[in-house]
């Protein structure tokens, strides 16, 4: 059933969604310290100013360390949980999975504060490692969700066929299951990396004196003079995340094409 006005509405809605992102590059190249109209002319100065800040590169390096570690650990934990949930029946399954997925619906402030309380109580120093601990907790549910759908689209008889043809459980996993869920693993790794990169609250409270990219950006907001260079940084980040997302989407679709399943669209 068609309602023609819907298309106009949807386009307007998309404009609303994209408005902040589209404004980013405009002001990143605008030759004015104030983010306001009318535009004052073209400059690449803000990019140079951003580039000149050593603190940015330290934060970036920290974010990469945190992001990559988180992505590997959360995806690994996700593989275990997704495999257990799609393949086995065992006592306490619902409760166990519920606890693993819980961080998806808990405010990050509450999680970070409760972890902080424990870390302080037992004297664990706050640094990048504690950020990683928090990020793995938050990212694992996303990994589980993505990987569960990857494992679910596997026909169980494929596994049985491999066993029937003489493979043991381990080689079945290696020769049949892993190649078929690989696209899911890659997209899980990319998405958990992106979430970790973007995460602020946990990084802010559990990082001690260490700064990640998001904490760095939050810090810069306090200095009006730094705002245009944040616009420049934001522009670059938006381009990067679009590139990352496109890659993730590519692998997801290839995975679907490979298993011959139907495309249901979307990551969530």
């Amino acid at each position: 059933m068609k309602f023609p006005a819907l298309k106009t509405y949807t386009v307007a809605y998309l404009l609303f969604l994209y408005a902040p992102i589209l404004l980013l590059p405009i002001f990143a190249f605008n030759d004015s310290k104030i983010i306001a109209f009318p535009l004052q002319g073209f400059t690449t100065g803000w990019f140079r100013m951003m580039w000149a800040d050593d603190a940015l590169f330290k934060a970036l390096r920290n974010s990469l360390i945190v992001g990559i570690s988180t992505s590997i650990m959360a995806t690994t934990l996700g593989i275990f949980a997704a495999r257990a949930s799609t393949r086995y029946a065992f006592p306490g399954k619902a409760a166990g999975l519920g606890l693993i997925m819980l961080p998806m619906v808990l405010p990050e402030m509450i999680m970070s504060m409760s972890m902080l309380v424990v870390f302080l109580a037992i004297g664990i120093p706050l640094n990048l490692f504690t950020i990683i601990l928090g990020h793995v907790l938050v990212c694992t549910p996303f990994a589980v969700a993505i990987l569960t759908s990857a494992f679910q689209s596997l026909d169980k008889s494929l596994e049985e066929a491999a066993q029937d043809l003489g493979e043991g459980p381990f080689s079945t996993f290696w020769r049949v299951i892993l190649p078929l869920v690989m696209p899911g693993i890659i997209s899980s790794a990319l998405i958990t990396f992106t979430i970790s990169l973007d995460e602020f609250i946990i990084a802010f409270f559990l990082g001690g004196t260490e700064t990640t990219l998001s904490v760095y950006i939050f810090g810069q907001f306090r200095f009006p003079a730094r705002v245009p260079s944040i616009m420049a940084l934001g522009t670059i980040l938006v381009c990067l995340s679009i590139a990352l997302l496109t890659t993730a989407e590519y692998f997801r679709r290839r995975g679907i094409a490979r298993t011959g399943a139907k495309d249901t669209g979307g990551f969530l």
């Binding site: 026909d155 008889s157 494929l158 049985e160 066929a161 491999a162 066993q163 029937d164 043809l165 003489g166 493979e167 043991g168 080689s171 020769r175 049949v176 190649p179 078929l180 094409a257 490979r258 298993t259 011959g260």
Partner: protein, 366 residues
């Protein structure tokens, strides 16, 4: 290649029970399948036939009893070490591999050289009629082709038993009929014991040496197709295999000859060998197949006995005509099938006609 002769037992079920929690899925299965036999498990969905097949493959454990393959108890043998291979209902073709890689999947531990294995794959592809398809991606195949890949992949391992789980149910009618014939030929060629699961009685009759009909986790009858059709062990089996007409009956005397009074047919004496198992409703009935009734045209003499009937429905099939007739003195429509012969008209609805029948073709369910 040597194969055991048909008299040897290949699979034996000894009082096999299977519970899923409280649900009793298999209720004491006892059966033996001979080497080289084409054996079918036939029954409606949920009767336990697939479960039974999967206990042979090793994908289902059993609650008690024993499953023996080639004289060996399979209790502690995992699926990957059993001398059986399976063609799955969904075919389970590995989507990330080519046709060749699928067919050669089980040869990984085979000590032969790469070239020899490749030759073996080629030979097997030829056997199933897929020569030249080796390099194709698995997901680019049609249903019939997938099925052939699944067959080749199992047969290349020269199993003692090939298990087929509803292998034809996903195919179109035409391809299905063609594959039925090919499977029979293939089975004769390789001589391997085939165990087929199907819910399609026609398919089972066409393909099998022997059939086990299953209801509610039990084997209701195990026989050759012709015997199964001629003398079903119970009214329920009779209803499941083809079409059978039933008329209520009163048993007058027992013995080597059983005297009965059949509604509409009068006094009938049948041989004790014609007496079969339970009637569904508890009350005795006689059953007879549509082709054992014939319409007697004017001047034709009954070979045995005859009765007057009225035609209620006519279904014309070209080579055959099916009539639903009601014999005087009964209230039931009986299905009757006649081969159409040139010069003999198809009767109209409402026509009064004599029908011929024969006491020897009756089966008595009590």
């Amino acid at each position: 290649m040597t194969f055991s002769s048909k008299s040897e037992t290949m699979i034996e079920f000894r009082d096999v029970h299977k519970y899923y929690g409280e649900y009793h899925a298999l209720r004491g299965i006892n059966a033996s399948i001979k080497a080289g036999e084409f054996f079918s498990l036939l029954g409606p969905s949920g009767c336990g036939k697939t479960t039974l097949l999967r206990t042979v493959a090793g994908f289902e454990g059993i609650s008690s009893g024993a499953v023996m393959v080639d004289g060996r108890d399979m209790a502690d043998v995992p699926p990957n070490h059993r001398p059986t291979n399976m063609v799955f209902q969904s075919y389970a073709i590995f989507p990330h591999l080519t046709v060749e890689e699928n067919v050669g999947f089980g040869l990984r531990k085979d000590p032969r050289s790469k070239e020899e294995k490749a030759r073996e794959v080629g030979k097997t592809l030829e056997l199933v009629g897929l020569t030249g398809f080796g390099k194709r991606a698995a997901h680019a195949l049609s249903g019939g082709q997938r099925q052939r890949v699944a067959l080749a992949r199992a047969l290349i391992l020269k199993p003692k038993v090939l298990l087929l789980d509803e292998p034809l149910s996903a195919l179109d009618k035409k391809i299905r009929e063609q594959m039925q014939v090919e499977l029979i030929k293939l089975q004769r060629e390789v001589g391997i014991t085939f165990v087929l699961v199907t819910h399609d009685q026609e398919e089972a009759l066409v393909m099998s040496d022997r059939i086990a009909v299953m209801f509610d986790g039990e084997i209701a009858q195990m026989d050759e197709p012709e015997r199964l059709y001629r003398k079903p062990a119970s009214q329920r089996v009779a209803n499941f295999i083809g079409t059978m007409n039933f008329l209520p009956t009163r048993i007058l005397s027992d013995g080597a000859r059983v005297a009965t009074e059949v509604q509409g047919l009068g006094l009938v004496e049948v041989d004790a060998s014609q007496v079969s198992g339970a009637a569904t409703a508890g009350q005795p009935v006689v059953g007879f197949r549509p082709e054992t009734l014939t319409i007697l045209y004017e001047g034709q003499q009954a070979t045995d006995r005859e009765a007057w009937a009225t035609v209620r429905e006519v279904v014309y099939y070209g080579d055959m005509t099916y009539y639903d007739v009601v014999i005087d003195g009964t209230d039931r429509e009986l299905r009757l099938s006649m081969r159409n012969v040139f010069g003999r008209p198809v009767l109209d609805i409402g026509t009064r006609t004599r029908v011929g029948w024969s006491p020897g073709a009756l089966v008595l369910f009590r």
